[in-house]
């Protein structure tokens, strides 16, 4: 079994439509959490945060923050249910949100209970 890669990713809401987005290695914002870059060192996390703040200034995103997560077999799972929810859409409307648009996370929101 592979060991999960643990770390922190940066998430925010896209300014113009409010959609939850995740900062990628290339510095772009993806709607898919699997494409997020995970920072394993505090300095790397700080660098991601700084990049996110720059994009807030450029009015690309708003309200960025760090989130604990892990990557396993290419799928990223946020530690907290709130963040898993943001990466999927409402659990009561599986026909809506990222999960319905092929942009959902690879883990159920309520997993880990």
């Amino acid at each position: 079994m592979t060991t999960p890669e643990k770390g922190q990713l940066v998430t925010a809401n896209r300014l113009r439509d409010g959609i939850a987005v995740f900062l990628t290695r290339g510095g772009a914002w993806s709607e898919t959490i699997d494409e997020a870059v995970l920072a394993q060192e505090p300095q790397a996390a700080a660098a991601l945060e700084a990049r996110a703040r720059e994009d807030e200034r450029k009015t690309i995103v708003t309200g960025s923050y760090l989130v604990e997560a892990e990557r396993l077999d290419g799928r990223v799972r946020a530690a907290h249910i709130r963040e898993r929810m943001r990466a999927l859409g409402p659990t009561v409307r599986l026909d809506l949100g990222k999960q319905a648009e092929g942009k959902g996370a690879g883990f159920a929101a309520s997993e880990g209970e």
Partner: protein
Amino acid sequence: MYRYDEFDHQFVRERTNQFRDQTERRLSGALTEDEFRPLRLMNGLYLQLHAYMLRVAIPYGTLSGRQMRQLAWIAGKWDKGYGHFTTRQNIQYNWIKLEDAPDILDALADVEMHAIQTSGNCIRNVTTDHWAGAAADEIADPRPVGELLRQWSSLHPEFSFLPRKFKIAVTGAPHDRAAVKVHDIGLRLHKNEAGAAGWEVIVGGGLGRTPMVGVTVRDFLPQHELIGYLEAIMRVYNLHGRRDNKYKARIKILVHEIGAERFKAEVEAEYARRPHPATDVEERELARIAAYFAPPAFEKLPRWSASFEEAKLHSPDFARWAKNNLGPHRVDGYAIVNISLKPEGGIPGDATAGQMRVMADLAERHGNDELRVSHAQNIVLPHVRKDDLFTVWQALAEAGLAAANHGLAGDIIACPGLDYCALATARSIPVAQSISRKFADSKKQDEIGKLKINISGCINACGHHHVGHIGILGLDKKGEEFYQITLGGSSAENASIGTILGPGFAGHEVADAIETILDTYLKHREAGEEFLATYRRLGPRPFKEALYATA
């Protein structure tokens, strides 16, 4: 029928234009998020988990068919085909784009609607009895006074930066369907022996993290003194209310900290200082406002409708719906129709655009063009002829709107919870769904009788869990959801705050726990005794024993 006046038209258009400009400046970077946030909140626009959320004000929950149809159109054009009716008699859209928000506000203004004062530390839109103007037990329609307060409080410069948000509810009936005792200010109409009407003024009620039942500061305030007296209350609050701590800033904390007597004395002293003639409500003005709420031209009908009685005999499903979902109307031959937005396993308060159109059509065809949103997240057609009820029911059934559970176990109040809300600590809707499925058997629901189950997904209590006969509060315990159960709450005239029964439950355990509580009630109740009465007679002990005995 309620309508705007000419001032509203102008100022809503001005506000919409201002917001269009503010949004453009935000998108261009001229405004920072810190600068923009209070501006968008003043227009009902929140940023939630998946997108922006727009909360639209529906004063007194009163809508025309045209307005409901516009809400449906907005849901289809700018959202994902549905909306969520809230415990503040409003509607929320969950998937709004910031760049679309000004167009949506314009579309709302086209039908005399807006999103002003649905957020922020101001006097929020006033709520009332959803049966106002129709209820058989009503002394007078409370909406003209609600409207008077709205006109007084809208953009009032002195009350636009209060220590915290401020909610006013008004009821004109002795049976309180507007939860006036758990609002910052609650107004309840009374009639004295001489037949004159006056307002009981209740202050300092509220839910949230510090739930409290309000205290009565005046038993019988003459109507023309309302504005002056409420201004005195607001001034005392504005001056003494705490601004250092958000969680202690509501007026209930002030009333509690200095005590009801001292608070009352402060208000009376302030009121005595007021130049009364300047704030007295003129009869002429009240009459002008009251005309907006003129009752429809009711037909003279017999109390008994042969076609209604016959339809009940032929259709048991209709008979059951009629028994549970109709309210007594003050005019013979009419009934109040309560449309439950709580189908089995559904999302409380959600309605699709198609369903909104069906309700709009029914209101226009059979309901004197009036709809109401209730704080229990249902829709009301307040004036329907008994002769038309079967036709209305058939149309509702076709649209999936005929759940016959009004006021029963399936009629659950639930906030959006963690499925949508950025403040939530746990999900509410799945818990409501599991309880709804558990009591899907209509016979069981009928046997249990009148019951209010209220669910909130965080301590802010949008789901009114403190005043549910059974309340459920979702919390976060080390990253996992768990749920506390309270019993014995009520938002009616006998208001009380529920008490926590014991240790909490995991989400999948809640429905079973509710079943155990209700089985215990059925075992102990006396003939004709409702759940709340049994609980008040016995206290928590038998429920505790049943629930935690095996643990």
